[in-house]
């Protein structure tokens, strides 16, 4: 276990060093990432400007939601790059066979494949919007201090789980399918809006199937001390980030099943 951590640290250090070899490219990509994500907040802001509220929710609350989901996703994007490209670069080419020969967990090896620095743009921008949102909300409680790291950790686990599930799916489809982007980018998009704005089927999906609301909407309600109009008790927001870890656990189990049934491909 400890030995695995040491190995991961070395792989991560090598990956960071490789990315910093091209400082110009890195700065441009991170800046591009920052601007692109900031523009999407401009879209939300324009809706506020035009309609005064977002379905009755004030801009502080929506900014907190937006910040949380983006920070969580950027952490998962940084860690999970190996799973994102898994279909094209490991399964289709047959390179995964080489990973299987190494005496370490495939999950660890893929996590160490690349520690991507580019999402730092999304992270900074999300953190900035999150801070602004908390500043604008009138009743921020003390629970916020520990809820932010807890919700971000749960969210990172959730999105990492989606990436692992997406990679496990590649054992069946060989190539990566872009359709799973509806859970990553589409999940970020859905997490930005307060849950009651959606229809019932989508609310249930986002709470119990892919618990994006559990790492975003419910903890935010606790932070800004706003009762849930749909009647979910307040304490739920304090424990709901755990759903992200549950999701990650299920996906790791699915990954194990996928690896067990893997019969190579490629040349």
């Amino acid at each position: 276990m400890l030995d695995g951590l040491v190995l991961y640290r070395r792989m991560a250090a090598a990956s960071i060093a490789a990315q910093l070899r091209y400082p110009g490219t890195f700065v441009l990509q991170a800046a591009g990432n920052f601007v692109t994500t900031l523009l999407s907040f401009f879209g939300l802001w324009s809706l506020f400007h035009r309609f005064g509220s977002l379905g009755g929710w004030d801009i502080g609350m929506v900014a907190v939601l937006y910040g949380l989901v983006n920070v969580a996703f950027s952490v998962a994007e940084t860690l999970g790059r190996g799973f994102e490209i898994f279909g094209g670069e490991f399964v289709k080419t047959g390179n995964f066979d080489r990973l299987l020969l190494r005496p370490r967990s495939t999950l660890l090896l893929l996590l160490g494949h690349e520690l991507r620095l580019r999402p730092v743009g999304r992270f900074l921008q999300g953190a900035f919007v999150l801070a602004a949102g908390l500043h604008l909300s009138p009743h921020v409680g003390w629970a916020t201090v520990w809820l932010i790291p807890w919700a971000v950790a749960g969210g990172a686990a959730l999105f990492l789980g989606i990436l692992i599930g997406q990679a496990a799916l590649c054992f069946l489809t060989i190539e990566g399918l872009e359709v799973v982007n509806i859970l990553t980018y589409g999940g970020v998009e859905a997490g930005q809006y307060p849950l009651p704005m959606f229809g019932r089927w989508l609310r249930r999906f986002l709470t119990w199937a892919v618990p994006i609301a559990g790492i975003c909407y419910y903890p935010t309600l606790v932070m800004v001390r706003h009762a849930d109009p749909l009647g979910m008790p307040m304490w739920f927001g304090a424990v709901s980030p755990a759903l992200g870890f549950v999701f990650l656990g299920v996906m790791v189990w699915a990954w194990g099943r996928g690896v067990a049934g893997y019969v190579s491909s490629g040349s």
Partner: protein, 272 residues
């Protein structure tokens, strides 16, 4: 002329090859469309007297049209030009006895249209008639307001596709110049998503930005045609709308060609 036509047909066939990608894209577009529509519905219901320039029904139709034409946006350089610039195969394009602008433009246009049209027809069929049949009339894609609007919109969509292909040409020249598609693609995505109305319908941005938004080239790709389709008033009427598109097409082509000549004159070729 035949050369440009065959470049068009070839690239179009490549686009039609990927049926699974079309299906996957369709699911993603429906998902994003559904989220956006529910958000708009909630926003509109909570502010009944906001006097938005689009009604909820129009905003929904706008969103569906935008989603179905997502691949018409100039979100990057032509992939084969990107590869050619990286590997040095660009020299073969330079050797062809054809006008390189028209050659690349034919391919770029086919790349956009070949990807966009099958997706647009499928998604429009699902979001329009099929949704109405399933009893989701209130959420569906509405038909054009009138026959005139339909014809105007069709002409305008055609011009929009040409403008988009011309903007792709600018990305192509930029790629040839910087020897890598990364830079062009990095600016192409945010610009097209924001300025074409994909992120938020252009009429819903703050009033002070309206004239500026209407007069920039990306509005001509999908926003102006959709406004004509919906019958939303455009300052100066439908005639002005089409003129804006033609002027941008001319300006982008003229300056683009000049830029391309300068780039080709001192082009560096890398690779083996």
């Amino acid at each position: 002329m035949r050369a440009y036509l065959s470049a068009f047909v070839l690239q179009g066939r490549i686009g039609l090859r990927y049926r699974i990608a079309v299906a996957a894209g369709l699911v993603a577009q429906l998902w994003f469309g559904a989220i956006t529509l529910m958000a708009y519905a909630s926003v509109y219901h909570h502010a009944p007297d906001a006097h938005a320039p689009l009604t909820l029904r129009q905003a929904m139709t706008y969103t569906w049209l935008q989603q179905s034409l997502f691949r018409l946006l100039p979100i990057g350089c032509l992939p084969s030009v990107g590869d050619a610039a990286r590997t040095g195969a660009i020299v073969y394009d330079l050797l062809r006895p054809v006008d390189m602008w028209a050659w690349w433009l034919s391919s770029s246009l086919a790349w956009l249209v070949g990807a966009a049209v099958p997706r647009a027809i499928l998604l429009a069929a699902i979001a329009g008639p099929l949704a109405a049949l399933l009893g989701l009339e209130a959420w569906s894609l509405a038909p054009p307001v009138s026959m005139t609007a339909a014809i105007l919109a069709l002409v305008s969509f055609g011009l929009g596709a040409l403008i988009s292909a011309t903007i792709v040409m600018w990305w192509n020249v930029l790629t040839a110049r910087t020897l890598s598609p990364l830079g062009a693609n990095a600016i192409a995505v945010p610009l097209s998503v924001l300025l074409s109305g994909m992120l938020l319908p252009l009429p819903l941005y703050p009033p002070w930005a309206q004239t500026l938004l209407l007069l920039q080239p990306f509005a001509g790709i999908t926003d102006i045609p959709i406004r004509l389709y919906l019958g939303v008033a455009i300052p100066g009427g439908a005639g002005t709308a089409i003129v804006i598109q033609i002027v941008w097409l001319a300006v982008l082509t003229l300056f683009g060609r000049a830029w391309m000549r300068r780039t080709v004159d001192r082009l560096e070729v890398q690779g083996a």
